[in-house]
């Protein structure tokens, strides 16, 4: 089944290439792997025998990047074609969102293709799925047929193949996979059907979720924590937002003083902006880094509002060094999450917490807290390779 992650705005679908032995399923994946630039795909994982016959599956993750605010990912699998590997072939079909049925067009292999199709139907039935049979079949698994090896001398005609195999009038394409002909078109065909199906699934069902606040919602709603909008802002009209690169963080002047707070320009009225409670921050701080309670390193961190960005967005930058040898940089975008009253060093104060927006540049498991009084102080913790690292202002103990 597809996975929709509204926290990271990620959509992930599973597409399986199915067909009889040596029909060209792995060749399809190899061509995609060869053609698509490295940053948009992962490595091709192949569980194959010594003779390069697929034993369990081939796997290729494809990352389409952001499509209308959604990071869209396809996971492409092939199955082993040989009849006697049915046990493993069936396992790969679990949770499938779309199927490319690859057909060897040779005249003398029509029966093998038909056997494979029957096997596919049977294996799907064991999971309670079935192949989509016509446009009105909303419950079926979408599929396309790829008539491969069209360059062979003994190919059966399209009419013959269609009559023999395409019982459901599924979309079909011709291909010569080893040359790359028709590979992209097949993938496009099945991707479109999978996304369409996903939308049809959205009608009906148990909608027990709170509806997201409409865009024209009152400012009061917008200023609450982002938990109010479980799904974030998505949708077809959101083009401009997703295409715009994130504004660069405003460089923060390095100051010798441990913590320095600059007066912000007159803040706009809360009601006009998202994250109404979001504080104006401009902290540059020398810190101690602790591992298992021991001070093993130091750090310089800066945290400031993103220049020109939304008021509740911040950039955290810094360098943590351990024993003067191991170094780790942090460059992460944060979003204001919550303002909480807290007792700190015997004094009632406000504490702000944040949500990590961009993960890859910073350490995992990053937690950031800013204590308001007596002056704005930054406390950070994250999970490093050796366990949790806690960073606190120089000379101060880490937070519990």
């Amino acid at each position: 089944m597809a996975t929709l992650n509204y926290a990271f705005k990620e959509l992930s679908c599973k597409i399986v290439y199915y067909g009889c032995g040596l029909c060209g399923k792995t060749t399809n994946l190899e061509h995609i792997h060869k053609t698509v630039p490295g940053k948009f795909r992962g490595e091709l994982v192949s569980l194959a025998t010594e003779q390069d016959r697929t034993l369990f599956f081939d796997f290729l993750p494809l990352d389409l990047g952001e499509v209308k605010g959604f990071k869209t990912k396809f996971q492409l699998y092939t199955v082993p074609g040989q009849v006697y590997y049915n046990a493993t072939r069936k396992l790969v079909l679990r949770g499938v969102d779309g199927i490319c049925f690859v057909v060897d067009s040779s005249r003398d292999r029509i029966q093998e293709n038909l056997d494979s199709l029957e096997n596919l139907k049977q294996n799907l039935a064991d999971y309670g799925y079935h192949l989509q049979n016509g446009d009105d079949d909303h419950d079926g698994v979408p599929w396309v047929i790829q008539y491969n090896k069209r360059d062979l001398p003994d190919v059966a005609s399209l009419e013959e193949l269609e009559k023999a195999i395409n019982f459901a009038k599924a979309p079909y394409l011709e291909a010569v996979a080893y040359k790359g002909n028709g590979v992209k078109e097949t993938l496009k065909g099945i991707s479109t059907l999978v996304i369409k199906k996903l939308n049809k699934d959205s009608t009906g069902g148990d909608v027990s979720l709170p509806k997201a606040a409409p865009k024209a919602a009152s400012a009061a709603a917008a200023s609450k924590s982002d938990d109010d909008d479980e799904y974030g802002e998505l949708g077809a009209e959101d083009d401009s937002k997703s295409a715009k690169p994130a504004p660069a963080a405003k460089p923060v002047e390095k100051v010798a003083v441990r913590t320095d707070e600059k007066k912000a320009p007159a803040p706009s009225p809360k009601a006009d902006l998202p994250g109404g409670d979001a504080p104006t921050l401009n902290i540059s701080q020398a810190c101690d880094a602790r591992w298992r309670g021991l001070k093993t390193g130091e750090a310089n961190l800066t945290l400031a509002n993103v220049s020109g960005g939304a008021r509740d967005e911040y950039q955290l930058n810094g360098l943590v060094s351990f024993l003067g040898i191991f170094k780790r940089t942090i460059s992460t975008k944060l979003k204001f999450k919550l303002s909480d009253p807290r007792t700190h060093e015997g004094q009632e104060t406000k504490a702000y917490t944040f949500e990590v927006l961009s993960g890859p540049d910073g350490p995992s498991g990053l937690n950031v807290i800013v204590i308001e009084a007596p002056q704005k102080q930054l406390y950070v913790s994250y999970i490093g390779s050796g366990g949790e690292v806690k960073i606190s202002p120089e000379g101060k103990a880490a937070l519990d």
């Binding site: 698509v36 790969v92 949770g95 499938v96 996304i195 938990d227 995992s364």
Partner: protein, 160 residues
């Protein structure tokens, strides 16, 4: 219907991340990955930068599926724990529910006992979060109308 998409909202992910982080802190393991038995990585926490989590998720799901098939052959419903021991790095897998696996990667800084104890505890919390998530459907005003754009993106990818 058997094949409904799994919807994870911000609250679900926050809860899952919180559970994973707590488990990592307690067990002192390196990283934790929540894997769908279909082969998708649902969430990850800890030191995952150097791990190809997509491929790992697909392989773990494959290995779990084949283990489940093995279990059936000997008359068991499932083998709920799977452990891979390496020279330095080890992987511990535990079933969270029928469709989800919690994978924990750890090294000799901690022990299998610690990881087993805390990942079992963590899987109970995850189970509850996922049970709620699995009942959700995409609200009709939140459709993912991106077919046309997906086609264009694929055209771009195959250009050169």
């Amino acid at each position: 219907m058997a094949n409904q998409p799994l919807i994870l909202t911000k609250t679900d992910i926050t809860q899952i991340h919180r559970s994973l982080l707590q488990m990592l802190k307690q067990s002192e393991a390196k990283c934790a990955i929540l894997v769908d038995v279909d082969g998708k990585c649902l969430a990850k926490k800890g030191f995952t930068q150097n791990v190809d989590t997509d491929a790992l998720a697909a392989l773990i799901a494959g290995s779990f599926s084949s283990t489940r098939a093995m279990a059936k052959l000997v008359g068991e419903a499932d083998f709920s724990v799977l452990f891979h021991q390496g020279e330095k790095e080890h992987i511990h897998n535990v079933l969270v529910d029928d469709d989800t696996i919690l994978t924990v990667v750890f090294d000799d800084r901690t022990t299998i006992g610690m990881v087993r104890l805390y990942s079992k505890e963590c899987s109970k919390g995850l189970n509850e979060t996922l049970a709620v998530a699995r009942k959700k459907r995409i609200p009709s005003d939140r459709k993912v109308e991106i077919e046309r754009d997906v086609e264009d993106r694929l055209d771009d990818l195959f250009k050169d």
